[in-house]
Symmetry: C2
Subunit: 141 residues, 2 copies
DNA sequence: CTAGGTGCAAAAGGTTTGCGGTTAA
DNA sequence: TTAACCGCAAACCTTTTGCACCTAG
């Protein structure tokens, strides 16, 4: 669960530029997210984080995740009747919720796609984030 | 809060074709949604519904809303850290969450837009619903 | 008549908060 | 050194559930 040097720099840079500290818990939670990019819930992150850091608490996991969402290091993804999921993929992308397995998949977007989506907004509307999500079946599993 | 004849037929038709009953509470909740299309939360629907039907319970409001969502009469819309909101607009459209006021606005889409969105999915992925939502500021209020 | 729906209250589930102790800078 | 952060447990808020009563078909 150790961060690569690059991930370490990204995390600390983002924290520092928000005036926040780097802590063992924040680094570890970030590492957990990077290690397995399957859109875990906060509770799943907690379970994984405890493997190498048994003393970490659920509240701290929530706090770390919230901090990272606010630093734009992590995206929080919501589906109906589901707890929030967390995604360290910073590239513009959409999500697909597979109703069969309950799993969430990243969907890559054509270049500048979010920019095109923004163009459907009426004048005066200024979007600073866009969420595009599909729900359905992904056959073949 | 009385339903128009047309709304009445739409509701009863949808219920009937799902093998469900028409009840006073379901009609009333549907009427509340149609009367003020501002994406109320379940609790807001409850407050409004009680004005003319003081005996209705919150659990029943939740049940009615869930029923209508399952009959495709109502869309359930979710934003981060917000309770679900309910929307009787059946046309394909997107949503805009105004961070200043906390209000949600419908965004009309160009023709066949959802169809175009579906085309970005990889083969094998079959979407049966799409959610496109923006979050940002809507100046001028 | 009776399956399905309602109202109530209690429980569940996810998330946040308050507080005393700990730690990064 | 000290403001920020952590761990814990309790609180919070939205949503669901169980059960006795009611009602639409």
């Amino acid at each position: 669960m150790n961060l690569t040097k690059k991930a370490h720099e990204i995390l600390n840079g983002a924290l520092a530029s928000s005036g926040l500290r780097s802590t063992r818990q924040r680094e570890h939670v970030f590492g957990v997210l990077l290690a397995q990019r399957d859109h875990p819930t906060a509770d799943e992150v907690y379970v994984r984080a405890k493997v190498e850091m048994p003393s970490i608490s659920l509240a701290t996991v929530y706090n770390c995740l919230e901090t990272m969402v606010e630093c734009d290091l992590v995206r929080q993804v919501n589906f109906e009747r589901e707890p929030s999921r967390f995604c360290p993929n910073l590239a513009e992308h959409a999500h697909f919720y597979d109703e069969t397995s309950g799993r969430v998949f990243d969907i890559d977007l054509p270049n500048e796609f979010f920019g095109k989506l923004k163009s459907i907004l009426p004048p005066q509307y200024e979007a600073n984030s866009i969420e595009l999500s599909f729900r359905g079946k992904k056959p073949g599993h």
